[in-house]
Subunit: 118 residues, 2 copies
Amino acid sequence: MSGSDVCSTNIVDQQKVDFVAGALPTEAENMAMAELFKALGDPTRLRIVQALALEELCVCDLTALMDISISAISHQLRLLRNLKVVKFRKSGKMAYYSLDDDHVLELVTLTREHIAEQ
Amino acid sequence: MSGSDVCSTNIVDQQKVDFVAGALPTEAENMAMAELFKALGDPTRLRIVQALALEELCVCDLTALMDISISAISHQLRLLRNLKVVKFRKSGKMAYYSLDDDHVLELVTLTREHIAEQ
DNA sequence: ATTATATTTGAGCAATCGTTCAAGTGAGGT
DNA sequence: ACCTCACTTGAACGATTGCTCAAATATAAT
């Protein structure tokens, strides 16, 4: 009917398609992977992650490193907490955040190297 | 005036903040890194990348592996092309896509392992 | 108790995203 | 020349995102 139908006529190489379909992660795995990448795919969150990889910091100090409100930082910290990228401890009125996941640091380091050499 | 002012009173640990500020990537680097993570942070694109890491595929075969229209795949391929994650060659009417960047495969593999062991 | 400080939360809003639809391009086949 | 096929493109759409603002919570100090 229109140009946007599913390509119904032919799969060009069924063998390749079957092989790839079998090797790809499950839908659930794929979603979980994408969710982690998406978390790192925002400049603010990426900066937070890299800062916390270097030092444990309270929300206030973290805010001093960025150009947005405390509230915005706090919202992003919650998201990163939910994904277990970041953890925190409470001490009096303050909350001290740090990285909870070394694999994430590996990802970030690898990407930084990759970007640098491009 | 309200609770959402910049935390003006005090940076809790100026030394830490200075150290981290110096070690963090530049704004441009950070943006470039986030852009790559964001590209991988969508389930459709992540699946495309993983498929093309396994086999060179035409758009039609790629579409057979997903649940969306040819048009949607094509839009996402353009984005991945612009980021040099993916490359393509033309052969007659067909376009054969493949991965253009082994670092990206490293990232994806690492993340898949990480998700699997959680 | 009252006040101040550090952080969290919810609502609201503009901007961005991912998709579909419809039209366009360009190479082959008849 | 015409049509078909594989793909690309632009417009439009609802959905999601990331921020600010204002209010809430919770701990500590007076």
